[in-house]
């Protein structure tokens, strides 16, 4: 930002607050500078995410590597935010308006974000499961020439994969699986109740009534841009960080199968379009939201790019194995095409193999960071003594 602009806005703020005594010492200037820098960095980082070229598959929107970048940026923003919040400030500020209301709300959002982290981690286990199934398909179709045996094997795994992806999308509830993972239908199965469970890809670690969409919706409660005098001081960065938190959790939930995502696209994004630093985030939100709406009708397990690819390839290969089964012989051309698709699938699996574990670890890192900031804020609140005396 050119020096003159900076000065103008700085002076502008002073004129608004003419009636208030402003500490014109270096501390205050430093604080304003930090805030400006923070907004700037946020803006830059998310612009980078928005401009990720779609044609470079590696970094495509909502691919594993894109998500990792997103989380990386979150951690950077969080660190800056923490710096602003904790250093050089009169700690009693936290207990005065508007922070006395904003901080507890922020803390509440943090807890919800933590639960989303856990749910997403659980969801990544599903993704791992798909990867494993896809690897079966790949290893079956890898063999040349593709024979009937391999085709059947691939088909079996494809069936499991597609129904797993389908079932998981139905909010991880007890699956009304349309396909069976048994190779035949069984009559008189003694333990009828237990059969459905085996269709579910991963045991669900999330509480029954927990809904990802509702959590994120709740996170947007009371999230409004601070106005006027409120906008100076710490209220602004708290708002900024909250918006980032909402976006990141929202994007994660959109990408990765998570319990109960109905209404995800209906969540109104809590940042007005005029907000400078929020432009890219809003852009991303719109882009992802559109994708979500498109797929919502078809029903998918999540927008994770690798999963999308897996689904697409799965369908193609399913057709292939079907035609193999029913038509007997396959032209060389078709066989080659199938092999190419299988190779693509193998590549997708490889990317999952490489990226899922680091992604999980990053989410864990995000978890830790949010916990740490929350703990420190809670301690600060307790120090100031605003919390009611616990003893009597």
């Amino acid at each position: 930002m050119p020096a003159t602009d900076y000065q103008a806005s700085f002076l502008g703020r002073i004129s608004i607050r003419r009636n208030q005594v402003i500490a014109m010492d270096g501390n205050h200037e430093q604080e304003l500078q930090d805030l400006e820098l923070f907004s700037k960095h946020v803006s830059e980082r998310f612009a980078e995410l928005l401009s990720s070229p779609d044609d470079v598959p590696f970094d495509a929107l909502l691919s594993i590597s894109w998500l990792r970048k997103l989380l990386d940026f979150f951690l950077c923003c969080e660190a800056e935010f923490k710096g602003i919040l904790m250093t050089g400030n009169d700690p009693s500020q936290i207990s005065k308006p508007p922070l006395d209301r904003l901080i507890p709300e922020f803390l509440d959002r943090s807890v919800k974000a933590l639960d989303v982290c856990n749910a997403v981690t659980n969801g990544l286990e599903s993704v791992r499961h798909y990867q494993k199934l896809a690897e079966i398909i790949v290893s079956a179709l890898e063999q040349k020439p593709i024979g009937d045996g391999q085709s059947r094997r691939a088909k079996k795994a494809l069936t499991s994969l597609m129904s797993a992806m389908n079932a998981d999308d139905k909010e991880c509830s007890a699956a009304k699986a349309t396909e069976r993972s048994w190779s035949f239908s069984r009559r008189g199965v003694s333990s009828k109740d237990r059969v459905p469970e085996h269709f579910r890809s991963v045991s669900n670690q999330v509480a029954k009534n927990w809904s990802a969409a509702k959590q994120i919706q709740a996170m947007t409660n009371n999230l409004v841009q601070p106005r006027g005098a409120e906008g100076s001081g710490l209220a602004s960065p708290v708002y900024t960080m909250s918006v980032i938190m909402v976006f990141v959790t929202w994007a994660l939930v959109a990408a990765i199968p998570c319990q109960e995502r109905n209404g995800l696209s209906a969540i109104h994004f809590p940042a007005p379009k005029q907000l400078n630093w929020a432009q890219s985030i809003i852009g991303l939100h719109e882009k992802i939201g559109e994708e979500w709406k498109k797929k919502e009708k078809k029903g998918t397990a999540g927008l994770l790019d690798e999963m999308q690819k897996m689904e697409k390839l799965g369908n193609i290969l399913m057709d292939f194995t079907d035609s193999f089964q029913f038509h007997g012989d396959i032209t060389d051309q078709k066989a080659e095409e199938a092999a190419a698709h299988a190779a693509e699938l193998a590549e997708t699996c490889r990317r999952m193999e490489e990226g899922l574990l680091p992604l999980q670890m990053q989410i864990r890192e995000v978890f830790h960071r949010i916990v740490k900031t929350r703990t420190e804020l809670l301690n600060a609140l307790d120090q100031v003594g605003k919390s009611s005396p616990p003893l009597l």
Binding site: S139, R153, K208, T375
Partner: protein, 627 residues
């Protein structure tokens, strides 16, 4: 179609094997769908397995022949394809058989295996204890009284009840015959390259078995948000249940699953049984630890300390077993999470202690306790630190830094300071406990200033500091940590307060009974001013009545202390009155209405003193024995 030469020898074997495989092709025949091979009979199963082996042998033969007989390709390729198909059919079947055997033998862990019948303390009663404890905890939750901390503490020392889960103990999750079958099937699947399918099936079935066990153990799926919202009392019983369940999970459930994997995949190498094990338990393990994690990050407040310490201790105890069970690379994250939770719990404990100290310092209630008796704060704090001393073993390890005290030189009036020089050689924990007592007194001193009557203020301090001393003496651990030096200081303080009280109240009363001012100098006759004397008596009576009326409602809860103070009062009052009466009664009695002035006998006063500090109001008129 002729088969290549080297297959001729086995052609009969191959053909009959192929027949068996095809007969059991479930996609082709109704009959094949109806029955399971491994449920039918031993012979069928063995035949089938042999058939699979035969086909597998053929496959490798065909591969060799295919590559070496490039010329006679067409047939070879066809046969290769045919054998492959047969393999696939066999593998699909084996997968189903594998799944079926697993399902048949996968149910929740039996409660019998949860409790060691050889354990000295319990056999089946243990099952009742499990439920009993739950009802007990329900009762606890109805106690809101802070003083019930003591009661709750008794509940928390239940580590002795579950000796049976004190170390790893694997149980047999399946009959050995089933395991043999599974082994046999697994071997064939893996050698045909169907390892992935094998792991998938295994994982999915065993996972649901673990889920059932979890439900049986009462392991809930609570979100972090849920945990933050619940009342702490409700959480306490959940923590208790979790501790019990976690021991069973790690030491019995997970350990047994691991053993099962090792057994089934014995012949095929550790990586595979690791993979299966993790496939099965990773999710459940994370779910288990998520609860402890949620507790470890919950908002800190003093009443949470002891359950957090219980949780910390339980996890600490479990850690070596967690490391033993989850010893592979792929289970790093679980070990790491457990260690993280442990460290957070420790941090939480430290934080709570600090928080407690601040809270005691800041406790703002201003309404003076009626009668100058023991303040609820004093009781709470002393009970609390008695409990802390019970947890000495853990806390000594956890508390590593000294309390942050005020500085003598800071001029800060809102925080006391503590002289560390005299407290050399004390553990940080002991320093914290002493600091808490220092802070408590500081707060009490502040509170005493709200009494309008200075005597009552002193009495209040006396009562409370005495209580502190009694509590310290009553707990050997606490006493050992506080140390006799500081104890002496405290004793001195309450004695000092007693003395101050006496001075505040009785100096002026006894002043009435002094000699000076009564003798009229130079007078020839009696030398005593009758009017002055009458005044004295009247003043004395009025003052004493007032003191008696007021201080009867004051309370010294400790019987011995009460007695001692009364005796001390008597020792000064009675002789003084007696001698005053002795010297001057004749002067009054020689005048008019002596009864207006000499209202009380010595015995009357002695009796009246017995009313002091009982905490009851007495009738306005003192009992008058003599008239």
């Amino acid at each position: 179609m002729e088969l290549p030469e080297n297959l001729n020898k086995d052609s009969n074997g191959y053909e009959s094997a192929e027949k068996i495989i095809l007969r059991w092709d479930s996609t082709a025949s109704e009959d094949a769908r109806e029955r399971m091979i491994f449920e039918t009979d031993r012979q069928e199963a063995d035949l089938y397995l042999q058939a699979v082996d035969e086909i597998q042998r053929s496959l490798s033969n065909v591969s060799i022949s295919t590559s070496s007989n490039a010329g006679k390709n067409a047939n070879a390729v066809d046969d290769h394809s045919k054998v492959n198909t047969t393999i696939q059919i066999a593998m699909a079947r084996l997968e189903d058989e594998f799944r079926n055997i697993l399902i048949t033998h996968s149910s929740a862990l039996e409660t019998d295996s949860l409790f060691d019948p050889s354990s000295s303390s319990i056999s089946t009663p243990s099952h009742h204890e499990l439920e009993e404890d739950d009802t007990l905890s329900n009762d606890d939750s109805s106690h809101h009284d802070l003083l019930q901390l003591q009661l709750q503490h008794c509940e928390s020392s239940d580590s002795s009840t579950y000796r049976s889960t004190s170390s790893i103990r694997e149980v047999d999750l399946m009959p050995s015959e089933a395991i043999c079958d599974l082994q046999a099937i697994a071997m064939r699947m893996i050698s045909s390259g169907y390892l992935r399918e094998c792991i998938q099936v295994y994982g999915s079935v065993r996972k649901s078995a673990i889920d059932s066990s979890f439900r049986k153990l009462g392991i809930e799926k609570l979100s972090i948000g849920d945990v933050q919202r619940l009342e702490w009392e409700a959480l306490e019983s959940k923590i208790r249940r979790w501790i019990r369940a976690a021991k069973v999970c790690v030491r019995i459930l997970f350990a047994s699953e691991k053993k099962l994997c090792e057994q089934i995949f014995e012949c095929v190498g550790t990586d595979i049984d690791d993979a299966c094990f993790m496939e099965t338990v990773k999710g459940p393990a994370i779910q288990l630890f998520n609860f402890a994690e949620a507790i470890s990050i919950s908002r800190r407040s003093p009443e949470k300390l002891f359950k957090i310490l219980d949780l910390h201790d339980a996890l600490m105890d479990l850690l070596p077993d967690i490391e033993a069970v989850f010893d592979s690379k792929s289970s790093d994250s679980i070990r790491v999470q457990a260690a993280e939770i442990l460290s957070r719990l420790a941090e939480a404990a430290r934080g709570i202690l600090s928080e407690f100290e601040s809270a005691v310092l800041r406790e703002p209630s201003r309404v003076p306790v009626p009668g100058g008796t023991i303040h609820p704060l004093t009781r709470y704090v002393m009970n609390y630190i008695s409990l802390i001393s019970d947890y000495k073993q853990t806390l000594i390890e956890l508390i590593m830094s000294k309390p942050s005290t005020g500085s003598r030189y800071s001029g800060d009036q809102t925080t006391p300071d503590m002289e560390f020089a005299e407290l050399e050689g004390k553990t940080p924990l002991a320093l914290h406990l002493i600091w808490i007592i220092v802070v408590l007194q500081f707060n009490l001193d502040g509170k005493s200033k709200h009494y309008r009557d200075a005597s009552l203020a002193h009495l209040f301090i006396m009562n409370n500091v005495h209580y502190i001393v009694q509590k310290v003496k009553g707990s050997p651990e606490l006493r050992e940590m506080i140390g006799d030096d500081y104890l002496r200081k405290l004793t001195g303080k309450f004695r000092q307060a007693a003395t101050s009280y006496q001075r505040a109240t009785w100096v002026s009363v006894l002043y009435c009974l002094r000699d000076e001012g009564l003798h009229v100098s130079g007078s020839f006759s009696s030398g005593v001013s009758k009017s002055a004397l009458r005044e004295r008596f009247k003043t004395f009576n009025a003052m004493f009545e007032e003191v008696h009326r007021t201080q009867a409602t004051w309370l010294i809860p400790d019987t011995q202390l009460r007695e001692e103070l009364r005796i001390s009062i008597s020792e000064k009052l009675i002789p003084a009155y007696r001698s005053f009466l002795g010297r001057f009664r004749s002067h009054i009695e020689s005048g008019r209405h002596p009864e207006n002035y000499i209202k009380y006998s010595v015995e009357d006063l002695e009796t009246a003193v017995l009313d002091f500090f009982e905490g009851y109001p007495v009738s306005q008129h003192l009992r008058k024995r003599s008239q």
